[in-house]
């Protein structure tokens, strides 16, 4: 599993990578996951339905991440209106 984070001026960066079946690596993944959530990021897992439709699932804890997920993508929390951003 890879934990990716979107970053302005860079694109995504790999925060952590490991096998969830290996306890040490899973612990590192969980710590990285918590750090990002504590920093106010949203976490999404890209998924594909049985019908082939692509979508995403927002997760709020590592326990919600499917064990077979290949990646979790962190991105900044949505800000409605966003006057400062010009929207």
């Amino acid at each position: 599993m890879k934990l990716l984070r979107m970053k302005p001026g860079h694109g995504e960066i790999v925060l952590a990578e490991g096998d969830v079946e290996v306890p040490e690596q899973e612990r590192e993944l969980i710590e990285a996951f918590r750090r990002e959530l504590d920093a106010g990021m949203w976490a999404a897992v890209p998924t594909q339905t049985t019908g082939g439709r692509r979508e995403a699932e927002l997760v709020k804890s590592f326990a919600e991440v499917p064990r077979d997920a290949e990646r979790v993508i962190f991105f900044p929390r949505a800000a409605g209106g966003a006057q400062a951003a010009g929207l």
């Binding site: 990716l4 979107m6 970053k7 302005p8 001026g9 860079h10 694109g11 995504e12 920093a39 106010g40 949203w42 999404a44 890209p46 082939g52 439709r53 692509r54 979508e55 995403a56 699932e57 927002l58 993508i73 991105f75 900044p76 929390r77 949505a78 800000a79 409605g80 209106g81 966003a82 400062a84 951003a85 010009g86 929207l87």
Partner: protein, 228 residues
């Protein structure tokens, strides 16, 4: 009498200092920046100044382009082939609303989500939403275009109601030019017709037609609202 005058002079001096402090501080900051740039020029390094955090980074003219390429690859790996082709050829994504096919959204990079009725082409609302990165790693809070589109796509497909609840709703026309959006919808309809014709004709024709479509649309996003 003398004591009174001295006190008044002290108070006056303190007032003048207090009032002129912001200007003095700005002048000091400008002088420091000039000194830093002069030193950098002497070393042969070009610096860009971040207006937000006051930081300076080594200037890299290719950074945004590389960031956009990475973001495009990530977007492509998340959406389906048709959605990726749509974004590549037209510069926006269409996502269907979760209550069936009665309405859909257009996702433009760094523009509001636009809800519309595909059957009639009627524009419903603009939903202003952004994903600002407060850490401003390179002095900007803006994600690359494709990352912004992907963030909207993920949030919309994961929890449409929550995203719309977070957004500020406006009537169409506040930020997106309705005429331009109508032209984009026409382009989308034409693009879909061409894809349907091409996919019915076979794989060789598909590749050639996709290439022709990209050339005609001028590559990613040309001619769309994004380019405006």
């Amino acid at each position: 009498m003398l004591l009174g005058l001295a006190t008044a002079a002290l108070v006056l001096t303190a007032l003048v200092c207090e009032l002129s402090r912001p200007k003095l501080r700005a002048a000091f900051t400008r002088a420091c920046a000039r000194f830093t740039h002069a030193c950098a020029r002497a070393r042969g390094v070009l610096l860009v100044h971040s207006s937000e955090n006051g930081g300076a980074h080594g200037y890299d003219p290719g950074r945004e382009r590389r960031a956009e390429l990475r973001a495009g690859a990530l977007l492509r790996s998340c959406v389906n082939e048709e959605e990726w082709a749509m974004y590549r050829d037209l510069g926006f994504l269409r996502v269907w609303g979760q209550s069936g096919g009665r309405y859909a959204y257009l996702i433009y990079p760094h523009k509001p989500l636009l809800a519309y009725v595909p059957r009639t082409g009627a524009l419903l609302s603009e939903y202003c939403v952004a994903f600002p990165d407060r850490t401003r790693p390179y002095g900007s809070a803006r994600l690359p275009d494709s990352d912004d589109v992907l963030a909207k796509w993920m949030a919309l497909t994961a929890d449409e109601r929550a995203l719309i609840a977070d957004a500020n709703m406006h009537l169409p026309g506040r930020q997106l030019d309705p005429e331009r959006v109508q032209r984009d919808l026409e382009r989308l309809a034409r693009w879909e017709r061409e894809r349907a014709q091409v996919s019915a004709s076979g794989p060789d024709v598909t590749s050639a037609a996709q290439h022709a479509a990209r050339a005609r649309h001028g590559g990613l996003a040309a001619g769309s609202v994004r380019a405006a």
